[in-house]
Amino acid sequence: LIVDMNVGRAQKWLVRQGLVEFEPTWLVAGRIAARHRAAVAEGVIIGLAMAVSVAGLVAAFVTGDLRKSDERSWYIELQAATCVMFALGMLVGFLVAARGDRAVAQSLTGRVAHPAAVGLRDVLGRRRIRAAVVAYPGGLVAGGFVALVVDAPSRGPVIIFLAAITLMSVIAGIGLLGVLRRPAVATDPRSLYVDDVLRSQDAWRALGPYPYLLGMNIATMGTSPWYLVLYVYYFGTTIFYVMGGRNALP
């Protein structure tokens, strides 16, 4: 029954990618099943983070702390923590998928590989690289600028923003490096093409839209007009993520 479910899931995935002429082999089914497990693990952590975020919002609303700038720092920290939990969920998902891939790879007898080196541009494409630059280094630049220009009492949220985006950058970097360096899990040209598609999707997932959520949350917490810079960052990141996520392959 589990095998049938995995094959069915692989079949649906292939259709979604437009690879209708590809057979849902056990290799593809195994890898898609690993990604399904990863999505479940990631979903549990992100669901928990969202529950904490909503609970925090309700608590801040009930206590009235949201309206008092002196007493809402705990809420800002909570929102930053939930954003980091999103990023950790992404990391857990990546690790679960990688583990599944390793198990599938160990069972292969024949292997194939690309004769030419595969670089970041091949995997992500220029559009997605631009999105990542806007989201991560762009976030650090925007946050750093706001931290420099705002007065000390209203600096709290942007410091949390900077710390969270730094952590997210590290997690995204580790994830991306892992996707780029992982061996191809393929036995023929078709499964190698599927491997390319999965690598591209995993790389995009590793970059995750979490800085976008972070920008949205933190920008609303600031009391200085300079926090408008973070709104610009938030909108910029949104646009680039939407544009970058349009295609399955770069």
């Binding site: 024949g110 590989a113 080196a117 040209p189």
Partner: protein
């Protein structure tokens, strides 16, 4: 695509070497194309690093690829020149065969026999 036939009597390093040589000679890999790192290819194909390193070393000795320090291994221009040399030799052979009145099929048969008579470099060692 580079593949390894685990049931073949040809050693894996020779399989890798000959496939790369074929791709370079047939211009599937163009001059300046970057080859995967030894470690990455070994990992992709499930081979030992030394096996792939030996293939790369032999390709480099044949002048088909060049290593540019830490930048990696690239397809060299020599491969392109080698192809041109073979084409020139083939053209001269075709002219000679025609001058001597050899049947095209017979001329091709001679070439085929000559190629089969030469052992691959991997077997000679």
């Amino acid at each position: 695509v580079i593949s390894i036939d685990t049931y073949s009597h040809v050693p894996p390093y020779e399989q890798v070497r000959s496939q790369f040589a074929g791709l370079i000679i047939n211009r599937v890999l163009s001059v300046g194309a970057k080859l995967p790192t030894v470690r990455a290819l070994a990992s992709d194909l499930g081979l030992a690093v030394n096996t792939v390193a030996r293939s790369y070393r032999e390709l480099e000795e044949a002048g088909l690829v060049e290593t540019r320090g830490r930048a990696g291994t690239f397809v060299s221009t020599v491969g392109e020149l080698g192809r041109a040399t073979v084409q020139k030799a083939a053209h001269e052979y075709a002219l000679t065969a025609r001058t001597l009145g050899l049947d095209p099929e017979e001329a091709l048969g001679i070439v085929r026999a000559a190629i089969l008579a030469i052992q691959p470099p991997g077997h000679a060692k």
